[in-house]
């Protein structure tokens, strides 16, 4: 359970999150949508404690996260851009994170799922973008934490890997986890998300299911519905 109240964040003079209130219950897949620069990544980074809000509070399971670090063992995070220390091999990186987190870890099944065995001894700098993203996914799913945050998880994945990722996300949902996803692939959202949160100019503009959004906007399909809400605000 994440409770966000009155969250306010500016970068310089540029407000990114403006008095944002949001409650995300346990269990389920939540898609955070919005145009570029609407504050999606900032919201995620605030939950992770990487960006520090100017005002407002974030509670995770009822506890304020401000100036804390131990709560992050309840979160698994997939960053938007898969950049890793370049002179480590895949195995070394996995082992390093295992050592740093000291939590139960199941990476073998994930490595097999994404066919990463041939790359384990290779240095991260030599991997292609898609393979790096697969490593990124393995790192994000290998621990058993109740909250999973995925920032643009589909970037660079081939269709086969995408199907495997979707299976994986569903599997985690079955286990009762909360999964937050940001993406620009609307088909992915329509297929996976239980609920969507639409951010616009740092505020929550819509929260509900895909069906609710389609009814509200009278759009023929989901993609048009999303386009419609961004247009109503521009007008």
């Amino acid at each position: 359970m994440i409770e966000i109240t009155g969250l306010y964040k500016t970068f310089g003079k540029n407000p990114v999150l403006v008095d944002l209130d949001l409650a995300i219950p346990d269990r389920g897949i939540f898609a955070i949508l919005g145009p570029n620069g609407s504050g999606k990544t900032t919201l995620i980074k605030s939950i992770l404690g990487m960006a520090l809000p100017n005002k407002g509070s974030i509670l995770l399971h009822g506890k304020a996260i401000k100036n804390q670090s131990a709560y992050r063992n309840q979160i698994q995070y997939l960053p938007q851009i898969a950049n890793f220390p370049n002179n480590l091999t895949v195995t070394e990186l996995i082992n390093m994170l295992k050592d740093l987190r000291n939590q139960p870890c199941s990476e073998t099944a994930l490595i097999e799922r994404f066919g990463l065995q041939p790359f384990l001894k290779k240095k991260l700098a030599t991997l292609s973008g898609g393979t790096k993203q697969k490593v990124n996914i393995v790192l994000a799913f290998m621990f058993d934490a109740p909250l999973i945050i995925l920032d643009e998880p589909t970037t660079g994945l081939d269709p086969a890997a995408l199907i495997k990722l979707k299976e994986l996300i569903r599997l985690e949902k079955e286990k009762g986890k909360t999964i937050l996803i940001t993406t620009h692939i609307m088909q992915f959202v329509e297929e996976m998300a239980d609920e969507i949160v639409y951010l616009l100019e740092g505020k929550m503009y819509f929260k509900g299911t895909v069906q609710q959004l389609m009814q509200n906007t009278n759009a023929p399909d989901f993609e048009h519905a999303i386009a419609a809400i961004s247009q109503t605000t521009n007008a």
Binding site: R72, I75, P85
Partner: protein, 260 residues
Amino acid sequence: MLKILKYSFYDLIRSRWSYVYLLFYLALGFAMLYLNNDLSKAVITFMNIIIILVPLISTIFGVMYYYNAQEFTELLLAQPISRKSIFMGQYLGVGLSLTLSLVLGLGIPFISYGLTTSSAIWDFSLLLITGAFLTLIFTALAFNIAVRNDNKIRGFGYAVLMWLFMAVIYDGLFLLSLIAFEEYPLDKFSLTATLLNPIDLSRTLILLKLDISALMGYTGAIFKAFFGTGTGLVVSFAALIAWAVIPVFALIRKAGHKDF
């Protein structure tokens, strides 16, 4: 923090530049000691190199490491590790691996030359100690500059300027002010000004240890009277420690308030 330190240290130990740095000191150490018959001249050469080069290398290495490790840092920030541990670990990883290169690179030639049994042992130990301090101080200053500048080019620029100021410009200003105010008693001023720059402080400590302060005239006598005493030594080392500790605190503070 120790785990981060371990990984940063391990990462650096495997990098080519640590070996280049180590080999440079080994070559320098052997060349200076075996090609030079006069030990005190060798010490002065070592001192000049340590005082100029150690700060420069530490500054560049510190800035470079911070910028290169940005991705690693972001990965760590999403883990259940406090920011303090992350940045302390990285700083100590860089500082200690550079110190190790210096101490091994000069220490091995010193030992093989048989300095441990000679009377010059204290001069050389002092060289290594001030070198280690300068490494830690300038690495910390470099990290401070890097953490405050997301623009790498600007960060590098400020870091090199900082080194230039401490190593060259400061002395120039110091001398100019001595000339400008030569009619006034300047002993307190020059002592304070020396304490306020770690490079000058290290140089003064080593020169006075070499007993060539007589060559420095009246000022040398005043310096000897201050730095040569127990109090002076304690104050100087306290100043070096402050130079090492204060930037680390500033780094931790800034890193704690930064958005990543």
